[in-house]
């Protein structure tokens, strides 16, 4: 089974969010990581499937040379091959176009993405890829099993768990529950150095949207403190002042 995992690069979850001008994220002092959904769930599940069913796992990213440490880390965790599509991440549409144009004649059985990036929180790249490749797609799966040609998926919803069945090839975006995080070991890190990491040319995808400006959410006006002995008065405040109950 040949699996493609799309991984994106995001600021570490504790990174300070600031903008050096209205449209540019200030990267100074920021460490970047693989988007948690891509790493912990999509990549690890892909590796588990490869370990039980055989095949290979390719990780692909759309981005500049600064993406290479991210792809190397995915190789250290266990992916066989890395591909960097040398293009700017203009918007979801451009990223999906680049990935689809690379994947279209590679005959992947499964394309795995994260449910969303913790940076842009778009959650639409996998759906765009699915339509561009004319493949079935399930968003936000928490469980994925492959039996022959049949894919069994589960998704947690507010009231229970939806169980889906589809067939390969398909696109799936991964949510919590699909796998458990794997920490790369020394052997993996060494092996990653010699694994293939290809840079391929951009398909010159255009974007459909643009960020006009970033801003920070309005600051909280301050926290009203209530003495623990007066805890009961909180209920009154929530009713009369905050008007939420």
């Amino acid at each position: 089974m040949k699996i493609l995992v799309c991984v994106s690069k995001v600021p570490d979850t504790t990174a300070k969010i600031a903008f050096s001008n209205p449209t540019i994220y200030d990267e100074s002092g920021v460490t970047f990581i693989i988007n948690p959904y891509d790493e912990w769930y999509a990549l690890v599940r892909a590796l588990e499937l490869k370990e039980t069913l055989g095949g290979s796992v390719v990780v692909a990213s759309v981005g500049g040379a600064d993406y290479e440490p991210i792809i190397r880390k995915a190789l250290a965790i266990g992916a066989d091959e890395g591909v960097r599509i040398d293009a700017a991440e203009k918007d979801a549409f451009s990223v999906a176009t680049e990935i689809a144009s690379y994947a279209k004649d590679q005959s992947f059985d499964l394309v795995l993405c994260g449910k969303e990036t913790i940076q842009y929180n778009g959650g639409i790249v996998p759906g765009l890829i699915a339509e561009m490749l004319s493949l079935p797609y399930v968003a936000g799966a928490s469980k994925l099993d492959v039996d022959g040609n049949v894919v069994k998926l589960e998704r947690e919803i507010a009231t229970g768990i939806e169980v889906f069945e589809s067939t390969l090839p398909m696109v799936v975006s991964a949510a919590k529950g699909m796998a458990e995080q794997r920490i790369p070991n020394m052997r993996g890190i060494m092996a990653a150095r010699t694994k293939p990491l290809a840079t391929i040319a951009s398909a010159n995808a255009t974007e459909q949207s643009e960020v006009l400006q970033f801003s920070m959410p309005p600051a909280k006006s301050g926290c009203k403190m209530i003495a623990p002995e007066d805890a009961a008065s909180l209920i009154q405040l929530l009713h009369e002042e905050a008007k939420v109950i």
């Binding site: 600021p11 979850t13 504790t14 969010i17 948690p36 959904y37 979801a92 549409f93 913790i118 842009y120 929180n121 959650g123 639409i124 759906g127 765009l128 699915a130 339509e131 079935p136 797609y137 968003a139 936000g140 928490s142 069994k152 998704r155 947690e156 919803i157 507010a158 009231t159 229970g160 768990i161 939806e162 169980v163 889906f164 069945e165 589809s166 067939t167 398909m170 459909q208 949207s209 643009e210 960020v211 006009l212 400006q213 970033f214 920070m216 959410p217 926290c223 009203k224 403190m225 209530i226 003495a227 805890a231 009961a232 909180l234 209920i235 929530l238 009713h239 905050a242 939420v244 109950i245």
Partner: protein
């Protein structure tokens, strides 16, 4: 301006997220047409939120086949804008419609769009730590609305029902079953207006009785921090935060949760945040509207008493 709103069908009625999408479109001052698939009871509730027309397509199909139906209607109906909820179904359908019809999709929007000249709209980025104003580059755009960011606004009315007669394409993805309720009879977390949440400060699963009691008196859903679900004190579906689910209730009460940035990322859209923590330095207080520095085991019983009293006299 004509807006087409895709509304998910839940046993003949619009989902709450679907009604929110209608309210969003209505608030833009648009002529709103709702589109539902399957069997719908009367107008499914969409008229009350401002939809003038409800187009109903019979049949039962997967999200790809649904996307084809919606893309066709979008072409035929001459709409200026499409709106849906940014939930699982919206994430499956709308990217396809965007590609099929060459529209721009802007997902997870949190505020009303400026449609005076093109389409400009705000959405949360960096897990709620910043806001981006995004402009669409095409004449027709699709917006998916972040659940609970806008609210359902009832304006009264009924929608005129139009039965559509397209044929659904065969489904590639089959919904085999929905495994029953998570076991709790309470309010589903992503849709809840009120949430009572607790963290490692509760010391062990045996102490959740108080958390559940407060929640049930207030009619709130329960949630928890990630370590609490990781160590199995609480079920996974209660885990909120950057790697769990993101919620935006009217009220979020956090008990014995430190307020790590990854936790805040999932709850900072809440309108009012109450923090109960014995450590006055807990970072959560910086994001709170009301705070109590105290031991949860002393504060909770007082809150429960007060909440009982409040609901009894309401």
């Amino acid at each position: 301006m004509k807006v087409l709103v895709f509304v998910e069908n839940n046993n003949g009625k619009a989902t709450k997220a679907g009604l929110e999408a209608i309210s969003y479109a209505k608030s833009l001052g648009a002529e709103v047409t709702a589109f539902m698939i399957g069997d719908v009871q009367a107008d499914g509730g969409v008229g009350e939120c401002g939809a003038q027309t409800l187009k109903v397509q019979a049949g039962n199909c997967d999200s790809r086949a649904m996307a084809k139906l919606i893309a066709q209607e979008a072409k035929d109906g001459g709409y200026n804008l499409l709106v849906a909820s940014h939930d699982n179904l919206g994430k499956e359908i709308m990217p396809r419609v965007a590609i099929m019809n060459g529209y721009t999709l802007i997902s997870g929007v949190t505020e009303l769009a400026n449609v005076a000249n093109g389409c400009m709209v705000k959405r949360n980025v960096f897990s709620g730590k910043a806001i981006a104003e995004v402009a669409s580059k095409s004449t027709i755009s699709i917006l998916t609305v972040l659940p609970n960011s806008f609210g359902v606004k009832k304006v009264g009315g009924t929608a005129a029902i139009v039965a559509m007669s397209a044929t659904c394409e065969p489904s590639q993805v089959k919904l085999v079953e929905v495994k029953g309720n998570h076991g709790d009879a309470g309010v589903p977390l992503p849709e809840a207006d009120l949430v009572v949440s607790a963290g490692r400060g509760m010391k062990g699963p045996e102490n959740w009785g108080m958390v559940e009691e407060l929640a049930s008196i207030l009619g709130a859903a329960t949630a928890c921090s990630r370590p609490v679900s990781d160590i199995g004190w609480r079920p996974h579906h209660e885990h909120v935060g950057q790697t769990g689910i993101a919620i935006r209730p009217n009220l979020y009460i956090a008990i014995g949760i430190s307020g790590a940035i990854q936790h805040l990322a999932g709850v900072n859209g809440s309108k009012v945040i109450v923090v109960i923590n014995k450590d006055p330095e807990a970072p959560f207080f910086k994001a709170a509207d009301y705070g109590i520095v105290g031991d949860a085991f002393e504060v909770l019983p007082r809150l429960i008493e007060a909440a009982k009293h409040f609901t009894a006299n309401k």
